[in-house]
């Protein structure tokens, strides 16, 4: 029986193989179709349209081709470049701070595995499940003048007239909100890499007399470098494109239209009606984001490959 089947399949193989391949591809595309459809109409097409728009001048409904003039204007538009102050602050302060906190929390998750670690993971993850706009609304209540839960405390401390949400406090408030929203989620991702590290490593170190924190920072952290770099890139992208939080807080405090690049792009398009210019700025912002990610990724890979992983705080 076996021989016969083998013979049959051998004979039929060439033809059937091709068929199989085609069928498999068709099947694959069929399965991919829902994704591809959405991806092409919601991602590829808007980007292509954005590229096209960016090459046009516009006033009202009138549009005319101007080549790369919009891009030339962007390089001379101080308001666009000023808008990177907040992203830079977040990139240099919030992102490293959050990765650090998340790392510590992840170590605790692992340590507390048998003592309610699951519950903590759940609780810390919760803020991430709330849409940023809702987060913005709730935080704007928390920092509002008349309804803030901090108000009684501030009153007792003698700051009864003090405005919490002043323009100058906003970077710090953004920091708090973003840390609150993303630290638990980040810790969760780090934790999932952490448990993949073979137990033997830390057991060995323990036998050599290393403490918990020594093991954490000297043994485990270098092994987490890959995931930390990925998280850094994701959060760097988030920082450069920050929009929702300042957008919601704008209800309580006056902000310039170019407070962040994304806000400037939005306001240029929808408050000032300069859609084509906004499209060009959007492309430049995407390019900057891409370059930063590329830079971090290349440097980081180089470091990993050359083994410069020991010098870590």
């Amino acid at each position: 029986m076996d021989e016969i089947t083998n013979e049959m399949t051998d004979k039929m193989r060439p033809k059937k193989k091709m068929n199989k391949k085609t069928v498999a591809s068709i099947k694959a595309y069929l399965f991919l179709a829902p994704f591809l459809l959405v991806f092409i109409t919601m991602v590829i097409y808007p980007i292509a349209l954005g590229v096209k728009l960016s090459l046009y001048g516009q006033r009202g409904a009138r549009m005319w081709y101007i080549g790369f003039q919009n891009f030339a204007t962007i390089f001379q538009d101080p308001r666009f470049w000023e808008s990177f102050r907040i992203p830079l602050f977040l990139l240099t302060v919030q992102v490293p701070l959050m990765l650090f906190f998340a790392l510590i929390i992840a170590f605790f998750y692992e340590k507390m595995e048998k003592h309610g670690g699951k519950l903590y993971r759940f609780i810390y993850y919760l803020p991430h499940t709330i849409p940023a706009i809702v987060t913005g609304i709730v935080w704007s209540y928390i920092f509002s003048d008349s309804m803030s839960p901090f108000r009684p405390v501030l009153d007792i401390l003698g700051f009864s007239g003090a405005k919490i949400l002043a323009r100058s406090n906003l970077p710090l408030i953004l920091l708090v909100i973003i840390l609150w929203a993303f630290t638990g989620y980040t810790a969760f991702i780090i934790y999932s890499s952490l448990i993949a590290i073979p137990k033997a490593f830390s057991e060995q170190a323990q036998l050599d007399g290393a403490t918990f924190w020594q093991i954490a920072f000297k043994i485990k952290m270098p092994l987490l470098k890959g995931v930390l770099i990925t998280l850094f890139i994701f959060n760097a992208i988030g920082a450069i494109q920050v929009f929702n939080e300042p957008w919601m807080l704008e209800q309580l405090v006056i902000l310039p239209s170019n407070y962040t690049p994304a806000m400037y792009i939005y306001n240029s398009a929808f408050a000032q009606g300069r859609f084509t210019y906004a499209a060009a700025m959007g492309l430049i912002l995407a390019l900057i984001t891409f370059l930063i990610s590329l830079y971090v990724l290349r440097n980081a890979t180089k470091q990993i490959l050359t083994g410069e992983t020991q010098e870590l705080p």
Binding site: A61, S144, S146, S168, L252, I254, A271
Partner: protein, 353 residues
């Protein structure tokens, strides 16, 4: 057709987004049906693009309970308005505000100048006129500045949860804003039912009573309209025919009182209002609207005008600008720069038609 706020109408007209409807609604008829002032909101250089629906006439909303408690009388003049404020500040606990003007809201501040009988911009014979530092505007800003500096009045951001909360809780005694706000107050400050009353805004010059506006919207016929004749006739019927006015009053939340024919339905659509303690606010608001008898064309860059005053007033609040009236020349400079940036070469500066 598009429903657009009056202050943003000129931007659409200027960009060619609306089409003139004079063929179906003559200037003479328009003036007869909507009054002279409405030409500033629906027309440019005599080309009529739509019809006005609701009024943005300024009205003074005040808390009768607080006025009674602290022995205040309803002010009829600006002088009395601030006298009552000083009295209130002396008697009331520090967490109560007499009145807080908006940080931002260009049309509110332009409305204040308008109320005093002035304007800061206009359009005529193909030119945009900008003069933010004319004597009336300066006087208004200097006077308000004095009141802020002495601490009788406050400045705060409007339209956020804090602000509505203060209106609901009764920590603000007076609010001056467009008469459409009556409905907003009803829905956003439900706990304050029965405590508010409405009055005509205190006058700068009681001998020449006058009022300005903030907001209000018209219906304009777009350039895309395939049947502009029908659109024009409908827009006119919608905003002036007594049957439609009655309907709009019953089903919309806006003070549909710009049409002169509102007089024919006013007795039917107004009456004692429980939210305002039984006051017939319809009549007061109608009186307030009658006092809007000058007009101007708003600039075609109102969102920029709005943004820049917000930042400038915030600078004043933060102590970066010392004199409130110093906002005006800076505001003007920013507005002129934006006009240039948007390619307007037909701008006449420091002059008004």
């Amino acid at each position: 057709m598009l429903m657009v706020e009056y202050s943003y109408g000129p931007q659409f007209m200027d960009l060619g987004a609306f089409q003139p409807i004079n063929r179906w609604l003559s200037e003479k008829n328009f003036r007869k049906l909507y009054g002279e002032a409405a030409m500033g909101w629906c027309a440019m250089d005599g080309e009529i693009y739509g019809t006005p629906q609701d009024s943005g006439a300024m009205a003074m909303f005040y808390r009768k309970d607080l006025f009674d408690q602290y022995g205040l009388t309803v002010p009829k003049t600006r002088k009395d308005f601030i006298e009552q404020g000083r009295k209130f500040k002396k008697a009331a606990p520090p967490n109560l505000k007499y009145f807080a003007a908006p940080i931002g809201n260009a049309m509110w501040w332009i409305g204040q100048v308008w109320e005093a009988g002035g304007k800061v911009c206009d359009y005529s014979d193909g030119n945009w006129y900008i003069d933010f530092t004319n004597p009336v505007a300066v006087e208004v800003f200097e006077t308000w500045g004095k009141w802020f500096d002495e601490g009788t009045l406050d400045l705060e951001m409007w339209w956020n949860a804090d602000w509505y909360n203060s209106l609901n809780e009764g920590t603000t005694a007076v609010l001056e804003i467009g008469c459409w706000f009556a409905e907003w107050l009803r829905y956003n400050a439900p706990d304050s039912e029965g405590k508010w009353r409405v009055a005509i805004p205190p006058q700068w010059n009681p001998a020449k009573p006058h009022n300005g506006m903030i907001g209000g919207s018209g219906f304009y016929v777009t350039s895309h309209s395939k049947n502009p004749e029908a659109a024009a006739i409908f827009a006119n019927w919608l905003n002036s025919h007594p049957t439609s006015l009655k309907c709009l009053h019953n089903y919309s939340n806006l003070p549909i009182m710009v049409s002169t024919r509102y007089e024919e339905v006013i007795d039917e659509v107004t009456g004692p209002d429980a939210f305002f303690g039984g006051q017939n606010i319809g009549e007061t608001l109608w009186d307030a609207h009658q006092l809007v008898n000058t007009t101007f064309v708003a600039l075609p860059i109102m969102s920029n005008v709005d943004e820049s005053i917000g930042l400038l007033i915030q600078d004043y609040v933060d102590g970066k600008i010392k004199r409130f009236a110093d906002i005006l020349p800076r505001w003007e400079r920013e507005v002129i720069n934006t006009m240039k940036e948007f390619g307007y070469s037909n701008v006449v500066i420091d002059k008004l038609p």
